[in-house]
């Protein structure tokens, strides 16, 4: 860091993951005197009691990006590029997806490069990518050497941005760190439209006393629930890893790529439901309605569910220990405390 303060720009800061990241960064002993520059397409709110400036910004506009690098806090030391059009949105609105998920990332990279150079800083550029980069036939276990051939606009854009970040890093223009996130459970907030949303919904809604739809299987005893596996991480573990990404010395990454598939664990839909029953009692399961949907089943079944995450763990990234039960327990506490 260039001074005793840590200046951090977070784009897409209005999302729930970014909110959790902000609170974790502010409490992180290794991120001293954190000054936050926050930007989103909707006016973000600043966290209470921390130095922060919040911008409503269109990140497809160079001038608006430049504002984020010329605040009174100075040039950021770290950029968290978390903004993006999510998978369904990018698929439905192709051109907007390309603008936001590729072009604006490159504009942000260029700003980090030029303002960083002028300030004598090699800015850490931390980017959240997705398992959507994978497509086509996949091996049973995905490794760091598994080819990514996306079959969605979202996955393609994430991979294109990864390539740019790798190349900018190789040239010493930014210090990139690309994290491919597992599916996050349990996501807080209202039910989302994403195909993966049910994986959180079948836990979250019953814990809140409302019903949820499970698009896999026709009953709680359907063997389809055992057959379908997913690669998961909790929100807290994911955010810990996002913070850790800023602390890894650049020299520890492989020479030819800054991409890391974060650690996770494999669970069947059955295991998610079992964890719900264990934590909230079998009556919670009665709030799950089974409406088997072949399309959803096919999409979820196409996602890679097992990864060799040894490289990520060598870099100090962590996974959730103990599978789903502790995650569901924590979410239940959050619900009871009014935090979720």
């Amino acid at each position: 860091m260039s001074s005793d303060k840590t200046i951090i720009l977070i784009t897409g800061c209005a999302g729930w993951l970014a909110s959790l990241l902000i609170h974790t960064l502010l409490a992180d002993p290794d991120t001293p005197n954190c000054h936050l520059i926050l930007a989103d397409v909707v006016q973000p709110t600043s966290p209470v009691g921390a130095p922060a400036i919040a911008f409503k910004a269109d990140l497809t506009d160079t001038a608006e990006i430049e504002k984020l690098f010329t605040t009174e806090f100075g040039v950021p030391d770290i950029v968290y590029a978390l903004h993006g059009i999510m998978s369904r949105g990018a698929e439905d609105n192709f051109d907007l997806g390309l603008k936001v998920n590729i072009d604006s990332v490159r504009m942000l990279l260029d700003a980090a490069r030029h303002y960083g150079e002028a300030a004598g800083k090699l800015i850490k550029f931390i980017f959240t990518s997705s398992l959507a980069v994978y497509g086509g036939p996949l091996p049973e276990v995905v490794t760091p050497n598994t080819i990514a051939t996306p079959e969605s606009a979202y996955g393609m854009a994430k991979l294109a941005s990864e390539l740019a970040i790798n190349e900018y890093s190789r040239r010493g223009l930014v210090d990139g760190r690309v994290l491919r996130l597992p599916t996050i459970v349990v996501r807080p907030g209202p039910p989302a439209a994403a195909t993966s949303a049910f994986l959180s919904g079948i836990i979250r809604e019953p814990l809140k006393g409302t019903s949820a739809v499970c698009p896999i299987g026709t009953s709680p005893t359907d063997p389809k629930l055992d057959a379908l596996h997913t690669w998961l991480a909790s929100p807290h573990t994911t955010v810990s890893n996002l913070v850790h990404a800023s602390h890894i010395p650049a020299s520890r990454f492989l020479r030819h790529t800054r991409v890391v598939c974060l650690p996770g664990f494999t669970a069947s839909v059955r295991e998610l439901l079992d964890a719900l029953a264990e934590v909230a009692g079998p009556e919670a399961l009665e709030l799950v309605r089974f409406e088997d949907d072949a399309v959803s089943r096919k999409i979820v079944g196409s996602w890679p569910a097992r990864f060799d995450d040894a490289y990520a763990r060598e870099l100090g990234f962590v996974g959730d220990e103990g599978g789903m039960v502790p995650i569901v327990r924590r979410f239940k506490e959050d619900v009871e405390a009014g935090r979720a």
Copy 2:
């Protein structure tokens, strides 16, 4: 094709490979009544005796791209996107490389998509990519499932454009075909600055009676010449494959990718020199000066030299049979006929 004529747009048409492609297309019985729209950053010349319009065009400018789709010939049936800043240029002029090798390809894709849609055509979009997409540790034999992690601005840009073409094809916006070319020997013309240029130079220059530098080894008997292998194809085979790419039904490609590594053959630098001696006599070898250069040796040694090209051959793409000797013989005939 939408009518009895075949309208073909070729960008980067002033290059030697494009020139050879033009003549091959005009002679191709499966490409009837070929009408050529030719564009390059320098004013191109039209081939004699064929319907052709030639444009000096800046392909990073949307307006200039649109001109190519609104000629009196009509909307192209096929686009050959051959323009680009070559590897050394893209490395030395990073921003221009991104503009030409990524942004202008996407602009060209968008033009093909929109003008194609308006004309009721799914335009075939044929793109030449490169082995420069590969980097990092590679297996002994590269397969269609080998991950590409570029370590150059050129390779990164080619891969980013590949991703866009795959996605535009998946969405039915264009009908893309991406060809990763082997190193082409023997390239005609004056010596080039590319690191790979010597592979042609050590054949071409002696055949023309002038001297060439071989940056591998210190003498004709240096074992380094045997140790260094490359993946090669002749100009004529490469151009045959470029034409063939326009004839393959879309349904024959793998569902998740339009990328094809073209067939080739593996030869050591020694085998190139042996072919020269066999065709032009051992005295031709005396025109090769050995100036061992560790940097060149390292770069060439990092290129993949062996491919499993079964998929490409299934699609009907061809390789050179008989290795280097027939290629050198043909080039010698071209030199003697004043064609090279």
